[in-house]
Amino acid sequence: MAKDNKERSTLKKWSRRAFIGVGGLAGVGLVAGVGGYMYMKSAVRKYSGYGLGDGNTMNAWITIAPDNSITLAIPRAEMGQGVYTSLPQLVAEELEVEVAALKVVHPQPESPYSNTFILTQEVPNIYKSYTVMETMYSFLPIVATGGSTSVADAWYNLRYAGATAREALIQVAANRWNVDPQNCRAENGHVINTGNQERFTYGELAEDAATIEIKELPKLKDRKDFKVIGKPVQRLDVVEKIDGSAEFGLDVRLDGMLYAVVKHPSTIGGKILSIRNEDRIMGMRGVKKIFISEYGPAIVIADNTWRASMAAKALDLEEDGVNKELSTTTIQTKIEQLLNEDPIEVRIDEGDVDAAMSADGGTLLEARYDVPYLAHATMEPMNCTVLVDEGRCECWVGHQASSVVHNLLREATGVKKKNIHIHTTYLGGGFGRRAEPDFVRFAGSAAKEMPGVPVQTFFTREEDMQNDMYRPMASCVLKAKVNPAGELEAFDSMSVLQSTAHNSLMRIMPSMATPPEKDETTVEGIEDMVYSMKNRRVSFGNLELPIQVGFWRSVGFSQNGFFAESFMDECAHSAGVDPYLFRKSKLKDHPRFEAVLDKVAEMSNWSDKGGRHLGIALIKSFGSIVGEVAELRQIGEKEFKLDKVYCAVDCGNYVNPDIIEAQIQGGVVFGLTAALYGEITWANGAVQQMNFPQYEMVRMNVCPEIEVEIMEVDELPGGIGEPGTPPIAPALTNAIFTATGQRVRSLPLVKYGYKFV
């Protein structure tokens, strides 16, 4: 076992046990098959998540120690979205404990922790019943964080986890007092005898409670009785994040650890054939090893990250140079071709679009929109630390999918799954990038080269930016027929881009990869527009390229929201109708959308604009409806200050309004960075942007004030990490139109001469 150079007492204690434990569960999981649901129920009861520390396991999520400390297994990655606080809130509400007293650990990727919602889009409830698909996804298992799914997936399971544990504790106390459980209540970590006010702490009851079977599923609290859910509870991770002690993947320090720096081939899909100056590099101070990984890059291992980086930079590589002809220009040529060919898929075809378009009367609109590739640029570059030793593998990584890490390390190191143990650290940003397999594979192959030695494998910023899985470049031709009453007689769109779901899942989980024509992400935000339209067609042309594209915060909505909501604005202006009222008139069958639109109009005082230039956009993504208004001040002909952004959010039942505000603000900044500056371009088969500020970000001086209001809606929870991002680009460019009369149809804005201060 690797010895840690820093304080890590809790992890040390349990890592040995974990190695013993995982095998048992994996074995049972594989043979379960029929009767899987029965197994899942017992698994929830039985399995502790290994790492919950000493104490009594109430179920897969909750352990209570005799000293009354409570540890929760939270199997979702904390990447800033607040999941180490919001999921504990769900448990605490029913368990009747203070959130601040809870300790969070990240368990191993095991069946009870599967995120079934990410695949089914149905809120699971393991305590009542799992469907066949949910059971199947649990057995795979799919323990992943993404698609803004964490709260929805946990909405019943974690509340029942708390409620059943509470009932077991009450039952034990009632037995000891020889009273009816009805005469006991749970409060702040105690069970109280309501007759005589005697009390037991949870720690005093837990050992016996761990053996109790609850006969009846307790009733969950009504929304009106929530004391923790819906409250701005302080984040459990904040204190660690203000004194430097929070551990990100790159902060892992182990005895004797070495540092590996990755040097990718210089063309996309290229192969490194040999290292011409190996002797010279090996002679550099601190360098221990150089090799060409079976996964593509050359990797330099040294005793210090900087020394490894300097050596990697000095490598003289012989490469095959494939795809050297690839450039943004050649990609654009392919896009033009595909826009003029028949689509690979007509995803929606309602009514007779062609007839409606060619009929007399009304106004015909046609517009072409374009957006570039975008990098994730997480502040913490990709990294992963692995130790391979005597048939065992230990890994420290900030990854969005621990079950994927498990599979990758099996493949890259040859170590059996039952002997692989994963420590999930904090993620220095995820945004979809940390769901990818590349850096884990590289780290596995580096560790295999150095048996017995922990190796931290790392991308420099340049390697990270030039070897991302990008938000795809996309072009879309939109057409509409607007009648004199301002109604949409017909809508038609043709999008050309690479298929993100196909491309990415072929890397992450090939068995789940959809063919490009079935990939909803290509036209999400267009095909699911709810505005009333009489005839409608949504088409997709598949762009095939060696470029890797991947899930990027809000995925297809990130570009399609811009296309759709800008074009709606064009339709409104052509009809001579106020853009807010134009949208509102088409939402009569969608009261939740209309309410959000009304709210954001009210927040921004839309009806009394004064000298302000306002632009509006409304998009539902990941289960939540977000309306945004951008308030723009014109300084010069193309120079602006974005003073303020108003956001109204309907995410159904919400868990932590303070975290939601932060996520919406962050989502707006992420989308704003893309709208103003974001562009990845290609030349000679490689990405041209290498670092900041070449790939610039919104910073303090440009960041607007962002006001957020959450609607009170008693419906199942929607996502919150992503839905803030899509509306900002169209809200902003719609505001630019009101200011200048210029319609922005291509991003980023700075490329077309716009300046923001």
């Binding site: 203000i242 430097g244 502040m379 910023r461 992420f670 900041f692 962002i706």
Partner: protein, 157 residues
């Protein structure tokens, strides 16, 4: 070389031109200071050199000899957290948290220079990148800290 960090003397055997960042992180395991870009653009690696904010990813370690280096680990001393840290908790500033050490060090240095900064002062002094977009709360927290006249408070947590 000898370096004075957070009031302690450390001896390291490294190349003179190794950036201070990597001496802190890899030689001394002071991992609170982060790598973000390596070209002094993002500010994740900000520490104080004699009280002045510097970006350590491009600063040769030898340039800090004889100066007092303060890292994020060194601003809460004797179990007390700083006004900036208190404000950071009050405003729940961090999201992923990776850039926050640098943000906090830049904010600490700003307050030392300008105890009650205007929004324009903040715009000029805080040029760090936060990919999660915490800027609005960073700004609010700096204003709160400027009004915090308590010298010390107990560490929370």
């Amino acid at each position: 070389m000898e370096l004075s960090i957070n009031g302690r003397i450390y001896k390291v055997e490294v190349e003179e031109h190794m950036p201070l960042l990597w001496v802190l992180r890899d030689e001394l395991n002071l991992t609170g200071t982060k790598y973000g870009c390596g070209v002094a653009s993002c500010g994740s690696c900000t520490v104080h050199l004699d009280g002045v904010a510097v970006r350590t990813c491009t600063l040769p370690a030898s340039a800090s000899i004889g100066k007092e280096i303060t890292t994020v680990e060194g601003i809460s001393r004797d179990g007390k957290i700083s006004a900036i840290q208190r404000a950071w908790i009050a405003h729940q500033v961090p999201q992923c948290g990776y850039c926050q050490s640098g943000m906090i060090m830049a904010a600490e240095a700003l307050l030392r220079e300008k105890p009650d900064p205007t929004d324009e002062d903040i715009d000029q002094a805080i040029t760090n990148i936060c990919r999660c977009g915490t800027y609005q709360r960073v700004r609010a927290a700096i204003h709160t800290a400027a009004k915090d006249d308590e010298d010390v408070s107990p560490v929370i947590g």
